[in-house]
Structure formats: structure tokens, C-alpha cells
């Protein structure tokens, strides 16, 4: 059990975890991408904030999982394909993070978030359109492929992941940034999947939520081995994250795609600003 040098009461951590989980679920960027900078801004040590962030990620992923499965939004093959690259990057990043100056890590995180925001906001409109003949089919992934179909406005829309090597390269970068900084990396994975691999935003966000649970598991295994997981504070952010994750998953399925994209882009800019401010 670690000593997190907590400067927030447990009920404040519950509320903060809930708010960050809603934001993270809606944008498909993971609650930790919001929670960790906020905890750092509140004065918590990075070594204490990182495990709480990953607990938020894991809880948010679990809370959203069943609903996203029911909606046929999660593409497991695609998720695990990019997670393979992301996990390698995350492990490598975590192992070298102790040798790099903190200010470099913070600025790397901020630059990556700005790139993600620009990529997300640059596109307008819905790329994948209903084709009509699939409307009687249930949404889901196609066996043996990185394609599938999802429901949009009462129609079934087919999609096929493109530029897979480029998407995996971006995911490797996302994983490395996640390993270096201690956040989930969803703020990079979702835009990479949507903009590089041409996967619909809702599928990209849901699939990213699935993969973030795996990234968090790997990180938490490492933090637990180092004795850095504070159980009280961890339970507080988990309770908050589960409540917020449930609400976020409902909002994610209702919001129009352009709104979802704009919200995600705006969040990324806010996160970049917080991190840059912290690294002055």
C-alpha cells in the first residue's frame, strides 16, 4: 500500500472520479486523461496520481463494457490488434520513464494531446453511410476481418479499418506516451482509430474503452508490484468512476457523432493546456 500524500478528502475523490469518468467515456479518451492532470494541479505527487488514474481507466472500461457490447460497438479484433502495439509501447515507456526529466514527459503528453485534438476536429460530417441492404443485420464485427457494421439512426452502416500498419504505429506512440506519463492513452487511440484507420467515431470510442482496460491492467500490475496502489483512495476513485462510467456510456450512445467529435477535440485542448501549465 503506497502513501499518496493525498490532499483531497475521500468524498472529493469520489466526486472527481465520477466527473472525470463521464468526460472520459463520452470522448473515448479515458477518465485518467482528465483525472491525472487535475490531481497534479491539485498538488498530488505524480507517483501517487498515476495508479489512481489507471484505476479510473479500469473502472470506466468495466462500467461501459456491457452496454457497448450490447450495442455492437466494440470491435475486439481491431481493439486487440492496436492494443498489441500499444501494450509494447506502454511497457517500454514505463520502463524508461524513470530515466527522463518530468518536464519532458509532460510536454510530450501535451503535444500529443494537441495533435489528437487537431486530427479529431479537422474532419466534418459522417464518413460511413448506410447501404440499405444490411439494415436487417445485427451490428457487430465480421469474423476474421477488421470490418464490421454498426447502427446509426436506425440503419446499419458497414465499415472496414484501413491503413492498419499506420494505425498500429500511432497506437505504439499512444502506448509509449501512456507508459511515460501514466495516463491511459485513449485521447490518442480514439483519434488514431477514427482518423487514420477510418473507423466510425462511436466504434473507435467503444473499442478504445475496451483496450484501455487492458492497458490499465498491465500498468496496475506494475504499480502493485512497486507497492504504489493506495487502497482507500483507489476505492474512492473506483466508486466515482463506476458511477460516472455508467452515465458516460449512456451519453455516448445518444450524442450525435459531430458533437462527440467536437467534445473530444475540446477536451484534448483543455488537457494539453493543463499539462503545459503544469510543466512551466
Amino acid at each position: 500500500v503506497g502513501d499518496p500524500t493525498v490532499i483531497l478528502e475521500l468524498w472529493q475523490l469520489v466526486a472527481l472520479g465520477a466527473i472525470c469518468a463521464v468526460i472520459g467515456s463520452v470522448g473515448g479518451i479515458g477518465g485518467a486523461s482528465v483525472l491525472v492532470p487535475v490531481l497534479l494541479a491539485a498538488g498530488m505527487e505524480p507517483r501517487a496520481a498515476a495508479p489512481l488514474g489507471l484505476l479510473t481507466v479500469a473502472a470506466g472500461s468495466l462500467a461501459a463494457g456491457a452496454r457497448q457490447l450490447d450495442a455492437g460497438l466494440v470491435h475486439h479484433r481491431l481493439g486487440l490488434t492496436i492494443e498489441l502495439a500499444a501494450s509494447v509501447g506502454a511497457v517500454g515507456g514505463a520502463l524508461v520513464s524513470t530515466a527522463l526529466p518530468q518536464v519532458w514527459l509532460a510536454r510530450t503528453l501535451a503535444i500529443a494531446a494537441i495533435v489528437g485534438a487537431v486530427a479529431t476536429a479537422a474532419r466534418s460530417g459522417v464518413r460511413n453511410r448506410p447501404v440499405g441492404f444490411l439494415d436487417a443485420e445485427p451490428p457487430g464485427e465480421w469474423p476474421g476481418t477488421l470490418g464490421g457494421q454498426y447502427s446509426l439512426d436506425g440503419h446499419v452502416v458497414p465499415y472496414q479499418a484501413q491503413r492498419v500498419p499506420a494505425g498500429m504505429a500511432a497506437s505504439l506512440v499512444a502506448g509509449t506516451v501512456a507508459g511515460l506519463s501514466g495516463v491511459g492513452g485513449g485521447f490518442l487511440k480514439t483519434p488514431a482509430m477514427s482518423e487514420i484507420m477510418r473507423v466510425p467515431a462511436r466504434v473507435a470510442a467503444a473499442t478504445t474503452t475496451f483496450t484501455l482496460g487492458i492497458t490499465a491492467s498491465v500498468g496496475l500490475l506494475i504499480y502493485a508490484g512497486q507497492g504504489r496502489v493506495a487502497l482507500d483512495e483507489g476505492a474512492a476513485v473506483v466508486v466515482g468512476s463506476l458511477l460516472g462510467g455508467l452515465l458516460g456510456a449512456r451519453v455516448q450512445g445518444v450524442l450525435p457523432v459531430p458533437v462527440l467529435r467536437r467534445v473530444t477535440g475540446a477536451l484534448l485542448l483543455v488537457i494539453a493546456g493543463i499539462v503545459l501549465w503544469r510543466s512551466r
Binding site: V1, L10, A58, A59, S61, L62, A63, G65, A66, L69, D70, G72, H76, R77, L80, T81, E83, L84, S87, V88, A90, V91, A94, L95, V131, L134, E137, P138, P139, E141, W142, P143, G144, G147, G148, Q149, P158, Y159, Q160, F210, G213, I214, A216, S217, V218, L220, L221, I222, Y223, G225, Q226, V229, L231, D232, G234, A235, A236, V238, V239, L242
Partner: protein, 97 residues
């Protein structure tokens, strides 16, 4: 886009969804117990919360690897197994560091 058709065993994901809901309820109960209880019970509940959160995604990945392997989808079964291998290597490296 050519569509080979939806997953013929899509219903199996419903069982996964049900298990995820159970895991969610268990996690809520354990985390709440951690905040309410004190002493050894608090530590046990807190540790169990973390264990469940770590185990669920990895078990889901292992289930997918087994399922795809049985159905002859060896490419993605290998991908899932690779993710588990990376997680194992990362965990070992973390515990040794």
C-alpha cells in the same frame, strides 16, 4: 465494402456482457466496502477490488483468444495471445524493477 456477414455466434457476447455486469456489481460492492470498513476487512476488500479490475480485461482477452482459436481464426487468436504475453512480460518487469 464487402460484408461476409455478422458474427454467427454473436449471442455469446451477451453472456460476456452479463458477466461484465456481475463483475461491475462485485467491484462496486468491494470498493464501497473498502470505504466503509476498517482494519483487515478494509485491506481485503481494497485488494480484491484491484484484483477484479486487473483480472477482468485479461480474462476477457484470454476468452477471445480461446474462442478464435477454436473457430480457426488463428491470426487474431495469435494477436490476443500476444497481448497477454506482453502483459505478462510487463508485469514481470514491473515486479522486478
Amino acid at each position: 465494402v464487402s460484408a461476409p456477414g455478422p458474427d454467427p455466434k454473436l449471442d455469446r457476447f451477451r453472456r460476456v456482457g452479463e458477466l461484465l455486469r456481475v463483475a461491475l456489481l462485485v467491484t462496486v460492492a468491494l470498493a464501497t466496502a473498502t470505504l466503509v470498513l476498517r482494519g483487515a476487512a478494509e485491506r481485503i476488500a481494497g485488494t480484491a477490488t484491484v484484483v477484479v479490475l486487473i483480472a477482468v480485461p485479461l480474462l476477457r482477452t484470454a476468452w477471445l483468444a480461446r474462442r478464435w482459436s477454436r473457430r480457426g481464426d488463428l491470426r487474431y487468436a495469435s494477436v490476443a495471445t500476444g497481448v497477454l504475453a506482453v502483459a505478462t512480460v510487463g508485469a514481470i518487469a514491473g515486479w522486478l524493477s
